[in-house]
């Protein structure tokens, strides 16, 4: 096999593409909700600690591992792992790095379409007409996702939403078909600055909002206080509240999901770099850009605005990612002056953030189909289009209570992501090893990375931290999920089992792809990573 033919066109392009992959709904909706629920300002202490000891080292190791694999001519996680292990079984270890993003794409594109659908409904006046009734807005949200019944999105009332899903699905494939530099990079170069501009305009509006006339105590300062004041649990001091494991779990999870770590996306993106391209400064810049969007923009828009119009009681009932974004905030925009314009702008920025993220989810599978089966882009995109269309159709049809979406999200974006992130860290810290790993990390580096980042953080602290967090998470989340598998609701289609069946089918399909790829790689000349020094 030849060296990768595709590559990034510019340094700024690769940074914005990785930043775009990371900046998503999590920055603008999940982060403020998590912070407000976990001690407000107190949450920022574990958040910043996790950013330094998990976020940055993991980002560095993923970028370096990706570029290391790219120097061997591999762009997909299975290829990279096969090259690192020098064993065909290594490719199966890396399989999650293609399957996870692909399956996440199947439902993420629906959420992306929902953002655009909301933006559209602000332009045509449907959402503003619902006024300040949170029940009406909640009903609109449920109907848009077809949460009332299976197949609800295939009725004439919801045909527009279905149309938006098709449009977003098609848009992603058009961009991905154009390739790394002409599709992903070019889109992110325009979309990311536009996203930040939209966010600043909305932020300016929120920070200049007058107090609620009916409740003058609900003003912007009180709203910022709801988000940022350090709050201890009842009967505890700030210090003892900080000692609770839940706050550390929530903060680590937020850093982890927000930086798009453990998905296999960064591996693929970084594999298109050359051996002397910097990874240290680029990854730090992407992480900082993501952190800026999250803390400065995300932390000052959603919660303060919702506090002014809804008050603390109603806000606390709608503080989940979806509740805050698609029920509470539309209600807020419907009540504020020029709310239609700002509502459109906010949901359009969420749409841009979602597209830059969903684009990155398709490239790992494309890379595997291209390099593993020797396909050109057209058939690779066609195969991927068929698989993802099947998945999106399945989730769109089994929409009652958003159960299919929730099931695939739980297993992919919560369970397997921890496993794959831990595997990646162990592979970089132990299989590649501290010496070669540090050389791979620091080759072409434009900032100096201390050696202990590799020998202590990436090798010991990060995997240990991940395993501890994963163990606590399993203890709290798995029993309920297991119950939903063994005790499905009576008289209903077994949606949870069907969703798991779909995941298994995709895993089996990619096992065959990897088997074929292994044969192809075996027949190639043996290769090793170029000396990065």
């Amino acid at each position: 096999m030849s060296q990768p033919k595709e590559s990034w066109n510019s340094r700024i392009g690769v940074i914005l593409a990785v930043m775009g992959s990371a900046v998503g709904l999590g920055n603008f909706l999940r982060f403020p909700g998590q912070a407000a629920q976990n001690g407000g300002g107190l949450f920022m202490i574990p958040y910043l600690v996790a950013f330094v000891i998990v976020g940055i080292p993991l980002a560095w190791s993923e970028w370096a591992l990706g570029r290391y694999g790219g120097s061997m001519g591999y762009n997909s996680a299975p290829g990279i792992f096969q090259g690192v292990f020098r064993n065909r079984n290594g490719a199966y270890v890396g399989m999650l790095g293609t399957v996870m993003p692909l399956l996440i794409y199947t439902y993420y594109v629906i959420i992306e379409a929902l953002c655009l659908y909301y933006a559209w409904n602000y332009l045509n006046g449907v959402l503003p007409a619902l006024g300040g009734d949170i029940g009406e807005v909640g009903g609109f949200f449920g109907a848009s996702l077809g949460a009332g019944d299976h197949g609800a999105l295939f009725t004439s009332e919801q045909a527009p939403m279905l149309g938006f899903i098709f449009f977003c699905f098609f848009l992603n494939f058009v961009l991905i078909y154009r390739g790394i530099s002409q599709g992903i990079e070019k889109f992110c170069i325009y979309a990311m600055p536009l996203l930040v501009l939209c966010a600043f305009i909305v932020l300016g509006r929120v920070l200049t909002l007058p107090p609620n006339p009916a409740h003058p105590e609900q003003n912007i300062l009180a709203g910022l206080g709801y988000m940022w004041n350090p709050v201890q649990e009842e009967g505890k001091t700030l210090l003892s509240s900080l000692a609770e494991p839940e706050i550390w779990l929530a903060a680590t999870g937020q850093i982890f999901f927000s930086l798009s770590l453990g998905f296999g996306l960064i591996l693929t993106y970084a594999s298109y770099l050359k051996k002397d391209d910097d990874v240290c400064l680029s990854s730090l810049t992407s992480a900082a850009g993501n952190g800026f969007c999250e803390v400065v923009l995300g932390g000052m828009i959603a919660i303060p605005a919702a506090f002014i119009f809804l008050g603390p009681a109603l806000l606390s009932e709608n503080i989940s990612t979806f509740g805050l974004g698609f029920t509470a905030l539309p209600n807020v925009f419907n009540q504020m002056p020029a709310g239609s314009f700002f509502g459109f702008l906010f949901f359009f920025l969420l749409f841009l953030a979602a597209v830059t993220s969903s684009l990155s989810m398709l490239q790992p599978s494309i890379a595997l189909l291209e390099e593993g089966l020797g396909l050109t882009r057209k058939p690779a995109v066609a195969i991927l289009g068929f698989i993802t269309f099947t998945g999106t159709f399945f989730i769109t049809f089994f929409s009652k209570d958003v159960l299919a979406l929730d099931t695939i999200d739980f297993w992919m974006a919560n369970f397997f992501i921890f496993i794959f992130a831990t595997v990646q860290t162990i592979v970089f810290g132990w299989v590649i090893g501290p010496e070669q790993g540090y050389t791979a990390l620091s080759a072409g580096a434009e900032i100096s990375v201390p050696r202990w980042i590799m020998t202590v953080m990436i090798r010991y602290i990060s995997p240990l931290y991940l395993l501890v967090v994963f163990a606590f998470w399993c203890k709290s989340a798995l029993p309920e999920r297991w119950d939903s598998i063994v005790n499905p609701p009576k008289g209903e289609p077994p949606v949870v089992l069907l969703s798991i069946g779909f995941i298994v089918m995709v895993l089996v399909f990619f096992s065959f792809v990897i088997a074929g790829a292994n044969q192809r790689w075996d027949s190639d000349e043996p290769r090793s990573a170029e000396d990065p020094s």
């Binding site: 033919k5 340094r11 002409q182 940022w228 770099l273």
Partner: protein
């Protein structure tokens, strides 16, 4: 908004902003870092 809230918000927001500004400044001021990584001629449009 309590003094503690102000302190946390200012430290977190200014810290992230400072890190981003420093990174962007470093990227833009490093002579080789804004060059094109690869020329468009390197890209093989396989399906054309």
């Amino acid at each position: 908004m309590t003094p503690g809230g102000w302190i946390v918000m200012i430290i977190a927001a200014s810290g992230m902003t400072a890190l981003l500004v420093w990174c962007v400044w470093k990227v833009l001021s490093t002579p080789q870092s804004t060059r094109h990584l690869h020329s468009p001629a390197d890209i093989d449009p396989e399906d054309d």
